[in-house]
C-alpha cells in the first residue's frame, strides 16, 4: 500500500494517492496510454514526517506568527525554511529500501518525472493546480529521492500557504502523494480543454514543440486551435512566432532555440488536431465533466500526462492580492527578459524623469501653475509607483530563484546563507554609506577637525577641505526621499550624523566582508562543473542584479518622490508667507485647492501626526519576531518615524522602525541592533544588518508602538526575541 504501480491504482486508493494519481489510475483502467511508473502514497509522506519528527518542526514553523499578519516575503521565508527541513532530513533507511526496490524495478537508469499529487488539488471544486512542484528529467535513485522530498516540501510552498485556508492545509491531516513516471521524450506536447472555459461552444487545443513545461509555465506561447465542440470542425488556428522549445539537458530541462524547420511548422497537423479533439471528447464523456488534459506526442504515439475537470478561475477581489503574489514566481528565462527591460528602458527613463523634474525651475511658477505642477508630479510618481509594483518587485524573484538553487545544491544549515553572496558594492546606497564612512574616518583621524565640527565652527580653516567634500556628497545624494521628507538636504544634520559615525570604528568592515564574500562564492561555485557551472554563474549574476535593482529602484523612485515633495514644500512655504498657520500640515490636495483658489479660507481641520502612546496598562515585555541576523545586543531604543529621528540617532542605540529602506540605511552602522516591523529575510534591513553583523529581529508588526524611544531593549537575534527591560 505504501507504493503502488500506476497500473494497479483503483478507487479504493482514492484517499492515499491524490487527485493526479487517481486520475492517472482511471485513465490506465480505461485503456489510455500513460507513461509507466508508480505512486508514492500519502502513507509514505506520513511515515517520513513521523519517523523524522518533521511534523512537529513544521508545526513550529507555521505557528511562529499568525499567517494572516505575514507579508508575502515572510510566507516565502517560512516555505523556504520548511523546504530546507525536508531537504536536510536524512531519509529513514527502511523507507529508502522500499524506494530503491521500486526505482530499480521500474526505471534503472531511465529519466523520470517526479510530480506532486496533492489530495483535492485537481478536483472539480478547486482551482489550485500548479501550487505544488513537479520535476522533469531526473536520473538515478539519489536524484529521485531528493526530488520526492522537494515535492513533499511543496505541500507547504509559499503559493500553497497563501491559500492555506482554502486548501484546508493542516499539519495533522494534510499529506502529499507523489507520482514517479518514466519521462516521455516529446516531439510535440500541449493541453486540451474539452470545453473552453470562456466559450462553452468550443474545444481548445494548444501545442508546442518539445516538452510541455514551457507551455505550462507560460514561457512559450503555443499554437492554438479552436474547434466547434459539437462537430469537431476547426473554427480557427491561431499560429504564433515559434522561436524556442523546451528540451532535456543532462539533468533537467532548458529552453533552446527552435531549429528553423520546426519554427516554420505548426506543432500539429490536421489529423493530429482531430485525434486530440476525439481524445478530449471521449474523456469528457467518460469522466462526465469537461476535461483539462495534458498530453504529449512521441514518435507519433499519444501519451496522456494528466486529465482533470476544467475549473473556472476564481476572480480575485481588489483587496485580494494573492493573484499578484502568485505572478511573482517567474522562470529564469522570464527574469532575464525582465532584466533587459528594467536595465535598458525603465531605470534610464526613471533617472531622466527625475533629472528633468529637478532641472525645472519651480520658483518661476505662479501659484496656479505650481498647483498644476504638483498634480502633474503626483501623477508621474503614481505611474512609477505602479511600474515598481508590476515590474521591479517581480524581478526580485531572481533572488528567490537563486536562494532555492543555492539551498538545493549546498544544503546549508542556514537557509538564508545565500544572501551574503548578493552584496554588490556598486549599489547607490552602498556607495553613499561608503562615502559617509570615509568622511567619518577623516573626522576620526583629525581631532582638530572633529573639535571644530562639534562646536559648529564650519568656517574654521581646518574644516575647509572637509566641507568641500561634504558639499560634493550632498550634491550627489541630496535628492533622496524617505517617507515624506528629503534626506541629506541639511548640512548641519549630516555633520551631526558623521560625528556619530566617527565615534565608532568602522573602517575595516568592507575588506573583511569582501574577502568573506569571495570565499563564499568560490565555495558555491566549487559544487559545479561544465554547463551547470555556467548556469550557476548566470543565476548568481541574475540574483545580484535582481538584488541591486531591488535596492536601487527604491532610490530611483525616492528621487521622483522627492520631486513631488520639493513642489509641495514650496507650496507650503508660499501659503505660510500668506499667513496660513496650518500650511506645514496640509496634504497635496489641500495645497492644490488653496493655490488654485487664493480666496479660499484655509480650514484648520488637520490632525497632528499621531504619536504612539502606550496605553499605560498594556506593556510588552518580550516580543517575538523572526531571527534575521544572529547576535545579542542591549541598548536604548530609538524608534525612527521621521527624518529627524534618523539624524538624532546615536551610536549604540537600537534602531526600531517600520521598514529600513535604502534611503535610510546610513544609520545602520551606528545601530547596536535592529528591530523592524516588516518581516522577511530579503528585506533591506535584514540584508544590511547581515552585512554589518548587527543582531536583527524582523516581522514584529507592532514594534514601533510597543517599543518607545528611551526603552532599554535586549535584542536576541538568535531566537528572534526582543525583551524590554522593566
Amino acid at each position: 500500500m505504501d507504493i503502488i504501480p500506476l497500473s494497479a491504482l483503483n478507487k479504493s486508493h482514492r484517499q492515499l494517492i491524490g487527485g493526479k494519481g487517481y486520475a492517472l489510475g482511471q485513465l490506465i483502467s480505461l485503456g489510455y496510454n500513460v507513461p509507466p511508473g508508480f505512486c508514492v502514497t500519502t502513507l509514505v509522506y506520513d511515515q517520513f514526517l513521523d519517523q523524522t519528527g518533521l511534523r512537529d518542526l513544521i508545526t513550529l514553523e507555521l505557528n511562529r506568527k499568525n499567517m494572516g499578519e505575514m507579508r508575502w516575503e515572510e510566507i516565502w521565508d517560512t516555505a523556504l525554511r520548511i523546504r530546507n527541513l525536508f531537504l536536510r532530513m536524512p531519509f529513514p533507511a527502511n523507507l529508502k529500501e522500499v524506494f530503491k526496490a521500486h526505482c530499480d524495478h521500474y526505471f534503472q537508469t531511465d529519466s523520470v518525472v517526479v510530480r506532486s499529487s496533492a489530495c483535492d488539488e485537481d478536483s472539480a471544486g478547486s482551482s489550485f493546480a500548479g501550487l505544488h512542484e513537479s520535476y522533469v528529467n531526473l536520473r538515478g535513485f539519489d536524484a529521485i529521492i531528493k526530488h520526492i522530498q522537494l515535492v513533499w516540501a511543496s505541500l507547504w510552498s509559499d503559493r500553497a500557504l497563501l491559500y492555506r485556508r482554502e486548501l484546508g492545509l493542516e499539519v495533522e491531516y494534510s499529506a502529499m502523494a507523489v507520482i514517479v513516471q518514466r519521462l516521455v521524450l516529446s516531439d510535440v506536447s500541449g493541453i486540451a480543454f474539452s470545453r473552453n472555459p470562456n466559450n462553452p461552444e468550443q474545444t481548445i487545443i494548444e501545442a508546442v514543440h518539445g516538452l510541455n513545461q514551457g507551455l505550462v509555465d507560460g514561457s512559450i506561447e503555443p499554437d492554438r486551435w479552436l474547434l466547434n465542440r459539437s462537430t469537431g470542425n476547426l473554427l480557427k488556428h491561431i499560429p504564433v512566432e515559434r522561436t524556442r522549445y523546451m528540451v532535456c539537458t543532462d539533468n533537467g530541462i532548458t529552453l533552446a532555440p527552435l531549429p528553423p524547420d520546426k519554427a516554420k511548422t505548426a506543432p500539429l497537423n490536421a489529423e493530429q488536431v482531430n485525434q486530440l479533439f476525439q481524445l478530449a471528447y471521449n474523456l469528457e464523456q467518460q469522466f462526465d465533466l469537461p476535461q483539462d488534459i495534458e498530453w504529449t506526442l512521441s514518435n507519433n504515439q499519444l501519451f496522456i500526462l494528466q486529465s482533470r475537470p476544467v475549473t473556472a478561475k476564481k476572480a480575485n477581489s481588489a483587496e485580494d492580492k494573492r493573484g499578484w503574489y502568485l505572478s511573482l514566481t517567474r522562470s529564469f528565462d522570464n527574469l532575464q527578459q525582465l532584466h533587459h527591460v528594467i536595465v535598458n528602458e525603465l531605470l534610464p527613463a526613471m533617472a531622466s524623469e527625475a533629472k528633468r523634474l529637478d532641472d525645472y525651475d519651480l520658483d518661476q511658477l505662479s501659484d496656479h501653475e505650481l498647483a498644476i505642477e504638483i498634480d502633474k508630479r503626483r501623477i508621474i510618481y503614481q505611474h512609477w509607483h505602479d511600474v515598481y509594483w508590476d515590474e521591479f518587485i517581480p524581478f526580485a524573484h531572481g533572488v528567490r530563484l537563486f536562494g532555492e538553487f543555492y539551498n538545493d545544491s549546498l544544503n546549508p544549515s542556514d537557509p538564508a546563507e545565500f544572501i551574503l553572496l548578493l552584496n554588490s558594492s556598486d549599489m547607490i546606497s552602498v556607495k553613499r554609506n561608503q562615502q559617509l564612512a570615509e568622511l567619518a574616518v577623516e573626522v576620526k583621524q583629525n581631532p582638530e577637525l572633529k573639535a571644530a565640527l562639534e562646536r559648529q565652527d564650519y568656517f574654521a580653516a581646518v574644516c575647509e577641505p572637509f566641507i568641500q567634500q561634504l558639499d560634493a556628497f550632498l550634491k550627489e545624494f541630496s535628492g533622496l526621499a524617505w517617507g515624506t521628507e528629503i534626506c541629506f538636504s541639511d548640512q548641519s544634520k549630516t555633520i551631526k550624523h558623521i560625528l556619530q559615525l566617527a565615534s565608532k570604528a568602522l573602517v575595516e568592515k568592507d575588506k573583511v566582508t569582501d574577502q568573506k564574500n569571495q570565499q563564499m562564492q568560490d565555495h558555491f561555485l566549487s559544487h559545479f562543473q561544465g554547463e551547470q557551472l555556467k548556469f550557476a554563474l548566470q543565476l548568481l549574476e541574475l540574483a545580484r542584479v535582481s538584488y541591486k535593482i531591488r535596492d536601487d529602484d527604491n532610490i530611483y523612485l525616492g528621487r521622483i518622490e522627492s520631486q513631488v515633495i520639493k513642489a509641495t514644500e514650496l507650496a507650503k512655504n508660499r501659503l505660510a508667507a500668506k499667513g496660513d498657520p496650518d500650511s506645514q500640515l496640509r496634504n497635496a490636495n489641500e495645497l492644490i485647492a488653496l493655490l488654485s483658489n487664493p480666496g479660499q479660507v484655509p480650514k484648520t481641520k488637520h490632525k497632528k501626526r499621531k504619536n504612539k502612546q502606550p496605553s499605560g496598562k498594556l506593556k510588552a515585555r518580550q516580543i517575538i519576531g523572526q531571527p534575521a541576523v544572529a547576535g545579542l545586543s542591549s541598548g536604548i531604543a530609538r524608534v525612527v518615524l521621521t527624518s529627524d529621528d534618523l539624524f538624532d540617532f546615536k551610536a549604540g542605540e537600537i534602531l526600531v522602525c517600520t521598514a529600513i529602506d535604502p534611503n535610510m540605511t546610513f544609520v545602520v552602522p551606528l545601530a547596536a541592533a535592529i528591530v523592524e516591523c516588516r518581516g522577511g529575510m530579503l528585506i533591506h534591513g535584514a540584508i544590511i544588518a547581515r552585512e554589518y553583523g548587527i543582531p536583527c529581529v524582523t516581522g514584529i508588526p507592532l514594534a514601533t508602538s510597543r517599543i518607545s524611544t528611551g526603552d532599554k531593549v535586549t535584542v536576541d537575534g538568535y531566537l528572534g526575541i526582543v525583551t524590554l527591560d522593566k
Binding site: G53, D56, L57, T59, L60, R621, Q622, L632, T714, D716, Y718, L719, I721, T723
Partner: protein, 162 residues
C-alpha cells in the same frame, strides 16, 4: 511485632515503588510544566518544556537568557515545577494528578550537558534549533522532593535518591 514491621516495610516499599512509577509516568507523558521562581520575593510562574532523568533526580529544561525566569534563577537557584495531567473537566478533581518538584537549579555548561541535552531532545526534537542558540541556557533542576496530589486532596511526598 517483627513480622508486622517487615509487613509494614513491604507495604511501604510497594507504595514507594507505585509512587515512583506514578510520578515517572506523569513526567514522561507530560511535555510542559509551570516553573515557579521569584525575584526578591516577587513570585513568577512560567510554562516550560522539560524532560526528567530516569531516576527522577533531575529535570532538564531550556530557557532564553533574556527571560525573567532566567534572571530570577540567577539570583536564587531555588524553584519548583508543577506538572499535571488535567483536561479542564470536572472529572479532573478526582482523576487528574499533579506533581510539584522542588529543588535547586544548575546551569549546565557544554561539557556537562551532552547526555542530558540528548535526553531532552529525544522528548522535544523540535526544540533542537532553540537549544543550539548561544542565547539559550540549558538547566538542570536537581530535585530534592516531589509532592504528588491526587484524588482531590491526597498528598504524598517522594524524595528521589533516598
Amino acid at each position: 511485632m517483627f513480622r508486622t514491621m517487615i509487613y509494614k516495610r513491604a507495604i511501604n516499599l510497594k507504595e514507594e515503588q507505585e509512587l515512583f512509577l506514578t510520578i515517572h509516568n506523569l513526567l514522561s507523558e507530560q511535555k510542559l510544566g509551570a516553573l515557579a521562581t521569584h525575584s526578591q520575593g516577587e513570585p513568577w510562574a512560567s510554562l516550560i518544556a522539560f524532560a526528567a532523568s530516569d531516576n527522577l533526580d533531575s529535570i532538564y529544561f531550556a530557557t532564553p537568557k533574556t527571560t525573567r525566569k532566567y534572571s530570577n534563577l540567577l539570583n536564587d537557584p531555588r524553584c519548583s515545577l508543577l506538572i499535571d495531567n488535567r483536561e479542564n473537566l470536572a472529572s479532573d478533581f478526582s482523576n487528574s494528578i499533579a506533581v510539584t518538584a522542588t529543588g535547586v537549579i544548575k546551569e549546565l555548561d557544554k561539557s556537562e550537558k551532552s547526555a542530558a541535552l540528548q535526553l531532552f531532545l529525544n522528548k522535544h526534537p523540535y526544540l533542537e534549533t532553540f537549544t543550539q542558540s548561544p542565547t539559550c541556557a540549558f538547566i538542570c533542576l536537581q530535585v530534592n522532593r516531589y509532592n504528588l496530589v491526587r484524588r482531590f486532596q491526597e498528598v504524598m511526598e517522594y524524595h528521589p535518591g533516598l
